[in-house]
């Protein structure tokens, strides 16, 4: 009996230790990575030294694209816009999602209804959200301005005032994504052991003290994750300004990705656009790595 089993296991090992099998199984991934990741990264780097409009032959121009990039005011403006966007988006996202998650965590009735309603914009296409908010933020006919006028307040140029437009988009993006972060914070909050709160209560700690000294330190990892995810998301800002403002007014909502897109598909500067993309990607990775470093130090 035992011997039989042993022979059988040996047989299995012999038949299935075919050396090529695992490589065959991972080959789709390897081919994919070569075509869609390795080659593009190398090709992108190569393109940064060339001028090319796709139709006529490529022309080697050395580091001209890079010097152009460093003197390109519009590109730096686009980076600045993206940073302004993040400056409002990240704190707002953190505060609103943490607050809503904290409320949901208080043994609330109908919690699943609230959770679902916060989550609705997360799953819907950004195109829908943008078209919807266009109606809310319009100057003359927007619902928010109509409400303001009803309250006797002056209209605000949510999307036409150059000092306001990018922040309007940041609020909209927060509205779209906050539901996801509510869920992440809820998971984080539920990992805090209830004994901690009980002990704190015995010591006479107020709710705020409990929150500040127990909850916040315990959910630090979630806070950092939310910061990193919203940073990456914010750096990809594209469809909202593309539909809503086209980058205007006065290029104040031109995002970096929108500018890269325009360089490639409106002006057909493939080499220069690739340079922008290459530089921008390295910038994003640097920012994210720095964030991770700072976080690791703090934790």
């Amino acid at each position: 009996m035992n011997i039989g089993v042993e022979i059988k296991t040996k047989k299995i090992k012999r038949t299935y230790n075919k050396k090529w099998l695992p490589y065959l199984l991972v080959s789709p991934y390897l081919i994919f990575v070569i075509i869609f990741v390795v080659f593009p990264v190398l090709f992108c780097f190569f393109l940064t030294f060339n001028k090319w409009n796709i139709i006529s032959p490529m022309k080697f121009i050395g580091i001209d694209n890079y010097s152009r990039l460093f003197h390109d005011r519009l590109f730096w403006k686009a980076i600045g816009n993206t940073l302004k966007f993040l400056l409002l988006h990240i704190p707002l996202q953190l505060i609103v999602s943490l607050l809503l998650a904290y409320l949901l965590n208080q043994k609330i009735k109908a919690a699943s209804f609230f959770r679902a309603s916060f989550f609705m914009p997360v799953i819907v296409s950004g195109v829908v959200v943008t078209i919807l908010w266009q109606q809310l933020l319009g100057f003359d006919f927007g619902l928010i301005n109509k409400m303001l006028m009803g309250l006797g307040v002056a209209k605000i140029g949510w999307l036409v005032d150059p000092d306001v437009a990018i922040y309007s988009i940041a609020v909209m993006a927060t509205w779209k994504n906050v539901g996801l972060y509510v869920i992440l914070f809820l998971v984080g909050l539920q990992t805090v052991p209830t004994q901690y709160y009980e002990a704190a209560k015995m010591e006479g700690a107020t709710r705020w003290q409990q929150f500040y000294h127990i909850t916040l330190p315990m959910i630090n990892p979630t806070i950092f994750m939310v910061v990193i995810l919203s940073t990456i998301g914010g750096f990809s800002l594209f469809i909202e300004p593309y539909i809503m403002t086209g980058g205007g007014p006065l290029n104040t909502t031109l995002s970096a990705v929108l500018y890269i897109y325009k360089q490639a598909f409106q002006y057909y500067n493939m080499g220069y656009s690739a340079t922008l993309g290459f530089f921008y990607a390295i910038m994003i990775m640097t920012v994210v790595i720095l964030q991770k470093k700072i976080i690791e130090k703090e934790v």
Binding site: L25, Q106, F119, V124, W133
Partner: protein
Amino acid sequence: MKKQQLSLKRILMYAALLIAAITFIYPFVWMIGASLAPLHEIGTMTLWPSHPSLENFRLMISKIPIGRSLINSLLVALFTTSLVLITGSTVGYALAKMQFKGRQLIFYIIVFTMSLPFQITLIPNYITMVNLHLVDTYFALIIPFAVSAFAILMFRQAFQGLPQALIDAARLDGCSEMGIIFRILWPNIKPTLVTVAILSFIGSWNEVLWPLIVIRNEQLMTMPQLVTLFAVGGRADSQLGVKIAAAVLLALPVMIAFLFFQKHFIQSMASTGLKD
């Protein structure tokens, strides 16, 4: 006294949550109402038009090939999702249950590619599509998304949790490796399958930057792309109702699916964050 204070607090909490819920739901309800309203009624705060009609939808169908784009989007999302499930589980299986040289290396490559910003590959991938003559084909929309690093890692983790005995027993019965993955192991990792399927379907359905780049033929456009170009292109300026109707049609399938599979959606989306 104390009890009363507590209940006041709770009332405030519910009020805050309710206000939040209204801010998230009201715009959607307003949008659906507006899509059914005649143009002169759209600018108002009222939720439901006095004479609801499908006029906006009728106009939309006559102006843009929205039905065709719906089919395009469905096809693309279904094919992409199936391919992601298949490639994700074969690669994930090899990484989880097989010993071979370079396994760890491949794992690191996968993790690295996940953190690579798409902005770097965007232009070269477009050029690859041009060179392969795939611009204006379904392939351009499907192939670049057919393999997902995230899906591979999800499947790897799910397979690692399954006992080796399950696989050995199947091999004893003469089951092929493909049979093992798809007939023996798949039924044991349903939550992972659902998560990966939902994420890649929604991802594909909502993708808009890539279609804008590789599709120029209106008959092949995906729905978000067509709606975007309609909204941006100025064709909709005088037709606000049509634009909103298009947005409703784009949102509706996902919203209905969400109402039915709420829990799965929320768990799946949350797992993208929690993986990190």
